[in-house]
């Protein structure tokens, strides 16, 4: 295995383009190293992107949107004094991944590129409408987070393409987001079901919403039916029931060591309700 630590994304991209065999980019490494140690994936080329300038930065732009460096860790996101006020769902979703120790290394970028359908931060990013900037041989382009995963362990990134920034939209007025997951313990588990909700209110009425589900299909899902179930409502019981039905209806899960099809389908609806209530309370400026 060759190890490289390029000084720019263009250089990183060029290294990847010219590499043969298996190439991996190294951000926090909390998945790459596990795969390396268990000999699931032994890269021929490992490209450490943490020595590139600015990769740890968390920046609020003049329009209120946020740009996160690709190596900003979960701990750095949680420690940021303002990011969590705008996007508590995204920050909390990231914070749910692994232990305090894992938070010291893990990144949104890595969680996304690992391609796990159960990645906690991904449904939260999808609900929030996050995009990523990709640097590749053809230059730089942006892509929505929901378009990145294409299947378990697979992404839409082409050879030589590397994510170079995470872009979170401006929070704007009367909005709130939340992410909840189900795990059997209180910590340290992979999500059995994850739900991200992001919405905006006009008075008590939901005017915009995005609902996403994790761990219930080969990729994280953006569920339009679930969003429609609550848009135009005050999140009353009927709306919550419709939301739960839409969330459960969108599930296409598997039976595995972490949960059954029946369990995931049922709990997706339960969690969708709970998550939406938190996002709604946040949009109203209430504590939740």
């Amino acid at each position: 295995m060759d190890y490289h630590s390029p000084a720019s994304f263009a250089e990183a991209s060029a290294l990847a383009i010219n590499a043969t065999g298996i190439t991996r980019f190294l951000a926090g490494g909390t998945d790459v190293l596990v795969q390396l140690r268990s000999e699931l994936v032994t890269p021929d080329t490992l490209i450490d992107i943490k020595k590139i300038n600015g990769v740890h930065d968390i920046t609020r732009n003049s329009d209120g949107s946020w740009t996160l460096g690709v190596a900003a860790t979960g701990a750095e996101m949680s420690d940021h004094p303002e990011l969590g006020l705008d996007w508590p769902g995204v920050v909390e979703a990231m914070d749910l991944i692994g232990s305090t120790q894992v938070q010291g290394r893990a990144t949104l970028t890595g969680n996304l590129c690992n391609g796990s359908p159960a990645a906690d931060s991904v449904p939260a990013m999808v609900a929030a409408g996050v995009t990523v900037t990709i640097t590749g041989p053809e230059g730089v382009r942006d892509m929505a987070v929901e378009d990145i995963p294409t299947g378990p362990g697979k992404t839409a990134l082409a050879k030589g393409e590397v994510i170079s920034a995470i872009n979170i939209p401006a929070r704007g007025e009367n909005g709130g987001d939340a992410y909840l997951r189900f795990i059997p313990r209180t910590e340290m588990d992979i999500a059995v079901v994850g739900v991200g909700v992001n919405l905006r209110l006009d008075g008590d009425t939901i005017t915009e919403a995005r609902v996403s589900l994790g761990a219930v299909a080969p990729t994280v899902l953006l569920v339009d039916d679930a969003a429609r179930a609550i848009i135009g409502t005050t999140l009353d019981d009927a709306a919550l029931d419709a939301l739960a039905a839409a969330a459960s209806g969108a599930c296409n899960p598997i039976d595995d060591k972490r949960g059954t099809i029946a369990f995931r389908t049922e709990v997706a609806g339960v969690l969708a309700k709970r998550t939406a209530k938190i996002a709604y309370a946040r949009a109203k400026g209430e504590q939740a």
């Binding site: 588990d189 060591k257 369990f263």
Partner: protein, 750 residues
């Protein structure tokens, strides 16, 4: 047999001093299994079968052997020929077959070859070049399926004499016991409840993987450093498997990072020695976590049928249980232990129990804390809870009504001496936890539990130094603070401060034979031996004082660390402190030491009662344990803080077993969850504080009244939690673990 000189007033025993090895263990200085290095050391790695059951057609290691970094490759041919015998008679053969596969691989993770190379990476890389041709065979991993007529046969001829005719060859041992007439008893009952229960295999889950450093010459002399609960059994077994003399192998036990029964046998140690013998260099072998899960002892999985009859007043009229335990591809699943322990807390007129030891394509089970007892208690105590619910009885009162006491005939045969079950139940009833109100959604569960405890072969040597300090050499690895208890017991007899005693875990070349640290035997047996060794030294101290004073030795007694004239000579001489005697011991007759070697038989059974509150989320089936109280008879707590620690640890492991821990096998017979991410042991945020009550009903078989405390604490939790969850959810849970999908499904079926 009561010891006539049992002590009940103590100076040191019962206090809570800092442990002697504390400093080393908080500074990173303590040396555990993987922390050893040797000059010229190589690193080993083991190739493991990906198949649950397969014939090994051919192993071609030539490509690995051709690498310059590779110094040795071993397969089964590099070990001694060990005779095959049925059941546990052929345990050396069983261990060898487990350590390195012979003709067949018997489970996912079974070792087939090993490499020694100049670095750990080089060794792992070399494994990929070993080509193994397998003929895959049908496999079975479930205990009930392994007993069916068409189940694949793991090994013909493995069953011992106990198995009745006509059973599947996978049934390798059979146990039946009891007394009275159960049918007559059931006829007397007002209510009979009959039910079936299943528990999955769990792993001991020690945080330290198996690790060793072995060196063996072609002259048959060797040294082994390893993390183990018993280095004499490692010595004996390795010697047998390598065909060398036992005494020529010196084994040193490292600090041990948890065992819970799982480190009472060998896995990688003979392999390291075989590699070393072939490479002529020391070889270090360290398992990774996945190897620990796939190839070291989990506990047995179990399938059980229980039938209990009860009168309206709570009197049990008859009890019957069948316990089928799966222990991997070798004899040893403790179906007999499960059967014998299941009804042991109760004074029963009519009881019958049957236990099966069943083989399947899984790793060889190893002991896990009161092996076999927790599953049986889960089944029996669940049925008792159901009877209480249906008859409207208080679960503690019902248990008090039936509780075994001194003189009761145990369900497994003998008559109990003095025991403390009633005292634990009375303490439970009086505990504020038992009467605390429950919140909506919460349920409370009660369970009793029993474990035999064990004595075992024990040697201890104690030597006094010129300055009046003492060194105690014991042969039972310190798995949770036993150096402190030994020092306290020695201090009690010698009458010198705790701090002036150094306790060392001796290697096999420095002390006589010692059984492993298991059976909750260390504080009992090594403690008894330490007391006897100290008394032996005190006899010699008294002899020196008598000689100095010119009076008969029987006119000298030992008090508060001094020889004191007694009887007609009382007051004739000033008390002579220990240090004054040892100061010139070289001139008064030579070094003063004490020692003791025996197999103490009075271990004294122990009982516990647990109270648990659990809350179940009705929408997701997720359980939180909200309050937990352990009440257990310790006989006499030598170091109460470490007794509490044993109680808390047993409860925590039981919580894991009850709620989330399980071996999950795929259709392909491969273990699906061989990392801590998916083998879910409790984390700090999962648990409440665990309250403890130490009941002390002295064991008549120990000079200070000690009963073992390590194992009983894991017997009640499965049942207590299952009862709490069942009462919270309003539906009887019959399968462990009670994972959220199982609870949610049970709620839906209610």
């Amino acid at each position: 047999m009561a010891l006539d000189d049992q002590k009940s007033i103590f100076t040191f025993v019962g206090t809570r001093p800092d442990r002697p090895d504390g400093l080393d263990k908080v500074t990173g200085r303590a040396r555990f299994g993987a922390d050893a290095h040797a000059p010229g050391m190589l690193h080993g790695a083991i190739l493991r079968s990906p198949h649950a059951h397969a014939r090994i057609v051919k192993i071609d290691a030539s490509k690995a052997e051709a690498l310059k970094d590779v110094k040795a490759v071993v397969t089964r041919a590099d070990f001694a020929e060990v005779p095959f015998e049925p059941g546990l008679e052929g345990e050396f053969w069983n261990v060898l077959e487990n350590v390195m596969a012979g003709e067949k691989t018997l489970y996912d993770g079974h070792a087939v070859a090993a490499v020694a190379a100049t670095s750990a990476l080089a060794a792992r890389d070399a494994l990929k070049l070993i080509e193994v041709e397998y003929e895959v065979l049908p496999h079975v991993t479930d205990v009930d399926k392994a007993m069916e007529a068409d189940a694949p046969v793991i090994r013909e001829g493995a069953a011992d004499y106990s198995v009745p005719e006509g059973m599947h060859p996978n049934v390798v041992r059979y146990h039946e016991s009891g007394h009275g007439d159960v049918e007559a008893g059931f006829a007397e009952a007002d209510l009979v409840v009959e039910d079936s229960f299943v528990t999955e295999a769990t792993h001991q889950g020690y945080i330290e993987p198996h690790a060793c450093l072995g060196s063996l010459g072609t002259d048959g002399k060797g040294e082994l450093w390893c993390t183990t609960q018993g280095h004499w059994i490692a010595q004996k077994t390795c010697a047998a498997l390598l065909g060398i003399e036992t005494s020529q192998l010196r084994v040193t036990a490292s600090e041990i990072g948890g065992g819970f029964g799982g480190k009472t046998t060998v896995f990688i140690e003979p392999v390291a020695l075989a590699l070393s013998r072939k490479a002529n260099r020391p070889v270090k072998l360290v398992m990774n976590r996945s190897e620990v899960f796939r190839a070291t002892g989990p506990t047995s999985s179990a399938s059980m049928d229980i039938k209990i009859g009860m009168k309206k007043d709570g009197t049990i009229t008859a009890a019957e249980g069948t316990f089928r335990l799966q222990g991997g591809a070798f004899p040893g699943a403790p179906g007999d232990m499960t059967a014998m322990c299941a009804f042991a807390p109760y004074n029963l007129t009519n009881v019958r129990q049957v236990g099966y030891d069943v083989m399947a394509n899984r790793p060889k089970q190893a002991a896990y804390r009161a092996p076999g007892a927790p599953m049986g208690a889960f089944a029996v105590e669940s049925v008792l809870d159901e009877l209480c619910n249906q008859l409207g009885l208080d679960p503690v009162d019902m248990r008090l009504k039936n509780a075994a006491a001194e003189g009761s005939k145990a369900s497994y045969g003998p008559t109990y001496e003095r025991i403390g079950l009633v005292e634990t139940l009375e303490a439970a009833k009086a505990h504020p936890h038992y009467s605390a109100p429950l919140k909506p959604g919460q349920g409370r569960g009660i369970s009793c539990g029993f474990w035999f405890n064990h004595g075992g072969e024990t040697s201890v040597s104690l030597a006094l130094s010129e300055d009046g300090s003492a060194q105690v050499m014991v042969g039972t690895p310190d798995i949770g603070g036993s150096r402190a208890s030994m020092a306290l017991m020695a201090a009690e007899i010698l009458g010198i401060p705790y701090e002036n005693i150094r306790v060392t875990i001796a290697d096999t070349a420095s002390l006589g034979y010692n059984d492993v640290s298991h059976g909750s035997r260390v504080t009992y047996a090594s403690g008894l031996a330490t007391i006897k060794a100290a008394k032996h030294a005190v006899e010699k101290l008294c002899e020196r004082a008598a000689a100095k004073w010119g009076i008969p030795v029987d006119a000298v007694k030992w008090e508060n660390g001094c020889a004191v004239p007694s009887g007609p000579n009382a007051g004739d001489f000033d008390p002579l402190p220990l240090a004054d005697i040892t100061a010139d011991m070289g001139a008064t007759g030579g070094p003063i030491s004490g020692h003791f070697e025996a197999t103490p038989e009075g271990a004294g059974v122990s009982f516990g009662t647990h109270i648990v509150d659990a809350e179940v989320d009705p929408e997701t089936g997720k359980t939180s344990v909200t309050r937990y109280t352990v009440i257990q008879d310790a006989g006499k707590a030598i170091h109460p803080t470490y007794v509490e620690g044993q109680y808390q640890g047993g409860a925590a492991q039981g919580i894991g077993w009850a709620l989330n821990e399980e071996y999950i096998y795929g259709e392909d017979g491969r273990l699906q969850n061989s990392i801590f991410l998916d083998y879910r042991i409790p984390v700090a945020s999962d648990l409440p504080m665990i309250d403890t009550v130490i009941v002390e009903v002295p064991n008549p078989g120990h000079p200070f009244g000690v009963r073992g405390v390590g194992e009983t604490g894991i017997v009640p939790p499965l049942a207590a939690i299952a009862n709490a969850v069942s009462n919270a959810a309003g539906v009887r849970m019959r399968q462990l673990p009670m994972s959220p999908p199982r609870i949610l499904a049970a709620l839906k079926d209610k």
